[in-house]
Amino acid sequence: MLRYIYRHDLHLFPKLRRSMHLDRADQFHTRLGWEVQVDETGEEHDQYDQLDPLYVIWEKPDGSHGGSMRFLPTTGPVMVNDFFLDLNNGVPLQSPLIWESTRFCLSRDASGNVAGALTLAGIEIMRNFGIQHFAGVFDRRMVRIYRSLGFSPEVVGRRGEGRDQICLGLWEFSPEVYERVAERAGIAPHTSQAWFDHSFGAISNAAVMPAAHIAAE
């Protein structure tokens, strides 16, 4: 299932937290060879993990990490402005309507639809919270993958050549994209909404009761 967890609540899911940071080390250090910090316990962390981001995590049936990504609003410190400003012609992206997505990660044995599920989670955030765009930096090989997931970014800036090229992309919300991504991911929209509600609380008619009802209690 999908879970949406702020850093300050991640300690409630110790197995998920541990396996996510191990999988991030495996993906970004071991497989992609990025210059990331791996600590003595084998976990990958960076300074943005210290800023209490919101993680979206695919939890496998055994309670461990199947894939994840991380969100922070661009009104605070974000990678696109701190490290990749040249990709947007020196214009910092800054708006409460734009969140940055980083550390898109899949565990080695993740099943086929985990990437799709994470993409759907991103759109669930957009449609429930009124977020208009996500921004993110990725290497060029991801372009094809995003297309297959049904949610392609607009590439607004590039650095480098060929295999080493990195791109700044912007994903824009539309209601149509929700249906398409859900279909590609093989997840019913009501299931996705139920996972979202499990983390953020469901909109229930009885939640905030009308005055008359309470007065009669």
């Binding site: 009104t75 910092p92 607009e154 607004v156 912007l170 939640a207």
Partner: protein, 251 residues
């Protein structure tokens, strides 16, 4: 002198018709009482019962302005409702907007609190936007209203983006009043943002501007979005007007 200004403010306020003007007043304001008036005007614009901005600064001091009745504010403090108010728990340390219906109102203490809030006319619906500011500053901007679910859903889906922007604009203004922060942060636009707003201000279409700057229309939209946020503007036209009046662009 001050009362003359207040009168002038009053006069201007009465003429407010749309969000642009509310935001213009917000940008121009230098006094806390005028923030109170602006938030009152905002409730008229949104047609909701209440709007409240609550701020905890980097020293842990609280401050708020808004339309909650004063007897409710006093009661909230004397009963120490901050300890059981699920909106506080739901917003603390978060950065996503919180629809009150998503919170847990089931514990008995919370139900009693809710009954009291309803009796004071706070409303059965609410939408709260938490904001993380610099150096541990934290704020929540809330609107609340009495209506059924479908009306509330319609209101939120109409205004959720404006509300996010408004919350941050109020917060930026409040930060100007923080002790030790006398210098108002100057707005600076990047060269590309200046080019984009200038060309748009000259009446060129988005497609023409994108072509002139050799960027996609999508990229242009993002430049405009970030300029709009920096300028505290409601929309593109408003952002151009703002940039012009600040002398940031020349048309």
């Amino acid at each position: 002198m001050i009362s003359r200004l207040m009168e002038l403010n009053q006069y201007i306020m009465e003429k407010i018709q749309d969000l642009d003007q509310i935001l213009d007043l917000l940008a121009a304001t230098r006094t806390l009482p005028s923030l109170q008036q602006i938030v009152e005007k905002l409730t008229e614009y949104l047609q909701v019962d209440h709007a409240v901005y609550h701020w905890v600064d980097s020293l842990g001091d609280h401050y708020h302005f808004g339309t909650y009745p004063s007897d409710w504010v006093e009661r909230y403090q004397s009963e120490e409702y901050v300890r059981i108010d699920p909106v506080v728990t739901g917003c603390y340390q978060s950065f996503h907007p919180v629809d009150w219906r998503r919170l847990d109102w089931s514990p008995r203490k919370v139900r009693l609190f809710l009954r009291d809030a309803l009796a004071h006319g706070i409303g059965n619906q609410g939408y709260s936007i938490p904001i993380r500011g610099p150096s541990g500053q934290f704020a929540v901007f809330t609107i609340s209203h009495n209506c059924d679910d479908s009306d509330w859903d319609a209101l939120i889906s109409n205004y959720n983006r404006e509300l996010l922007l408004l919350a941050h604009f109020f917060n930026r203004k409040a930060l100007e009043f923080e002790p030790g922060r006398l210098d108002t942060q100057e707005i600076s636009l990047s060269p590309r943002e200046i080019d984009a707003l200038t060309l748009l201000g000259q009446g060129q279409s988005r497609a023409q501007v994108a072509q002139a700057l050799s960027i996609s229309e999508h990229t242009l939209r993002v430049y405009i979005e970030s300029a709009r946020y920096k300028l505290g503007a409601a929309n593109t036209t408003h952002a151009i007007a703002r940039a012009t009046s600040y002398g940031l662009i020349v048309i």
